[in-house]
């Protein structure tokens, strides 16, 4: 079977600077979301047990081919990518990804991270499942494949659910499902030779819906704090008491 892993090209969040409360993303390198890497690792581990192929799909900037090299180095067998320069919201990404996935044969599993590294809105996996009419399970920290069924564990705030899902299915994993491997230099070099298909959005034959969400502003919150420097523990304990946070059991 083919295991599809959908990953998002995002600006490297650690390198975004704030100027006049505005995020500066120019010249910030593109990378892949951390939880997306856990989804890829989950796919590679399943592949090692089930004789599957791991196909990585994504939408991104003109640098998308470069960004996704890391995914091929970390165990993806093949990449199918769409170039889209400009903002894309969840509903639009979902349509593009669903169109990409529809072109892949014998898809058993479609894996996402529980949320992207930048927006973390956690919509795209659920939207793709609805578009493709497939069952879904989110917040998964265990996946075992048994024939045409996936046995998974969904971790919620108050409980864990062991579930059986008929394949094909969309599974969104949590970061605690595994520790994603870091590819070696040799693997990165070899990744350049793995098959890649890079399409323009209009080659996919799908109409991209108009944006459904309008961003009115996007500013760093003002965080004015007193930054009072205290020199000793007793000063700190006194400051806490003055604020109404006394100790004492």
């Amino acid at each position: 079977m083919n295991i599809v892993v959908a990953m998002k090209e995002i600006p490297d969040i650690q390198q975004i600077r704030i100027r006049n409360r505005k995020p500066v993303t120019d010249d910030v390198p593109r990378t892949l979301g951390n939880i997306d890497k856990n989804a890829l690792e989950a796919a590679v581990q399943i592949k090692e047990k089930t004789d599957s192929q791991v196909i990585v799909v994504g939408v991104g900037s003109s640098e998308v081919e470069d960004t996704f090299k890391e995914a091929l180095a970390a165990g993806g067998d093949e990449a199918r990518l769409v170039v889209w320069d400009g903002e894309l919201e969840s509903s639009q990404s979902a349509q593009l990804l669903a169109a990409l996935i529809t072109k892949i044969d014998s898809v058993g599993l479609i894996l996402f991270g529980e949320g992207s590294g930048d927006n973390y809105s956690s919509q795209v996996g659920s939207r793709v499942a609805q578009i493709l009419g497939l069952p879904q399970v989110g917040y998964v920290n265990r996946i075992e494949i048994e024939g045409s069924t996936a046995r998974v564990t969904r971790s919620l705030e108050d409980c864990e659910q062991d579930l059986e899902v008929a394949l094909p299915a969309v599974i969104m994993v949590s970061s605690d499902i595994n520790t994603a491997r870091i590819p070696s230099v040799t693997q990165i070099l070899k990744a350049g030779k793995k098959p890649k298909e890079v399409l323009a959005a209009n080659e996919l034959g799908v109409a991209i819906p108009a944006a459904q969400v309008e961003t009115i502003s996007n500013l760093a919150p003002e965080m004015e704090r007193r930054q009072i420097s205290v020199k000793t523990i007793s000063d700190l304990v006194k400051a806490l008491a003055d604020e109404g946070f006394g100790g004492g059991r």
């Binding site: 969040i13 919509q123 919620l156 062991d162 970061s175 009115i216 704090r225 109404g244």
Partner: protein, 308 residues
């Protein structure tokens, strides 16, 4: 806008959603309850207009079926606004409901305002570095509201229950077992005071001292993500930040956290923030009210002694 449908499996969050819905003032408000007679009764007794689905063929753990139930009920009642809880259940549901309703959707919404006559919602963006104000432009809107962003609605005597019939296809998901996360079911978002352990606490043996500090301050203990996921000193339920809990305590005593934005988003709405860190340039110090530059190895025993 014809009205609002609210849904969460957690009755406490339903009452918060009811407050949000009333404040948005978008017409009549209905609360959907799926296969849970006692909860329908309870919410109606609290004053809510409950739409009750009783469909033995569907189950709450099947997101596809739940999304159909929400979308079909909203369609039948001509309700264009759907409010869900932005806990894990609600967030997983949100995208699917939105796609089924051809609706724009926002999750992790913390509040709203009126901008030029339209509802504008606030949520964290860019990993928590920014606060985005966004409006949904489709006729139908799906909004997942963060827990504790709104107070629970006060009880009234106007409740009702109406049965709703929906048509849900057979589920492709089967439940094998549910295990409650017993043993550590702390509700950090409800805690008035938090003590937060970061990587600056270097030895696991020092956690006993942290525990004593927390006890003395009557605080709950949270941690930064690496302390739970890499060091595994605490369960992930205690992670504070973007991929953990977003908290609004009266006091946050932060022990050895450098203060990356993915963390600070989880405490920056605390009334008072104290940062103890051996690095005087730690970003955490810049968003703290009180800063003590100290080695935690030495500071913790002294803090225990003086608070005790």
């Amino acid at each position: 806008m014809a009205g609002t449908l609210i849904f969460s499996e957690n009755p406490a969050l339903v009452l918060e959603l009811a407050t949000a819905a009333l404040e948005m003032d978008s017409g009549p408000v209905y609360a959907l309850v799926i296969n849970n007679g006692p909860q329908a009764e309870k919410l109606s007794n609290h004053g809510l207009a409950v739409l009750s689905v009783d469909e033995p063929g569907m189950s709450s753990f099947d997101t596809a079926g739940c999304a159909q139930a929400v979308a079909q009920t909203a369609g039948q009642k001509d309700l264009s606004m759907v409010l869900l809880s932005s806990d894990r259940r609600g967030k997983e549901l949100a995208g699917r409901v939105a796609e089924a309703m051809h609706a724009g959707c926002l999750t992790d919404v913390k509040g709203f305002s009126l901008e030029g006559g339209q509802l504008a919602f606030t949520r964290n963006s860019l990993g928590g570095a920014t606060l985005a104000t966004q409006a949904i432009k489709t006729p139908a809107q799906v909004v997942a509201v963060s827990p504790r962003a709104f107070a629970p609605i006060a009880p009234t005597a106007t409740g009702s229950i109406e049965a709703v019939k929906i048509n849900v296809p057979a589920s492709a998901v089967k439940l094998v077992e549910t295990r409650s996360k017993a043993g550590d079911t702390v509700d950090l978002q409800a805690a008035e005071r938090l003590v937060v352990v970061g990587q600056g606490v270097e030895d696991q043996s020092d956690l006993a001292l942290v525990e004593q500090v927390a006890q003395a301050l009557k605080a709950e203990i949270g941690c930064s993500k690496p302390v739970a996921t890499d060091k595994k000193w605490y369960p992930e339920e205690r992670i504070i930040g973007l991929s953990g809990k977003i908290c609004k305590p009266a006091l946050a005593l932060i022990l050895g956290v450098s203060g990356q934005v993915q963390f600070t988003v989880g405490v920056r709405e605390a009334q008072v923030i104290v940062s103890v860190n051996n690095d005087e340039n730690a970003f955490m110090n810049k968003i703290a009210d009180y800063v003590l530059v100290a080695d935690l190895k030495e500071a913790l025993p002294e803090l225990v002694r003086q608070l005790g």
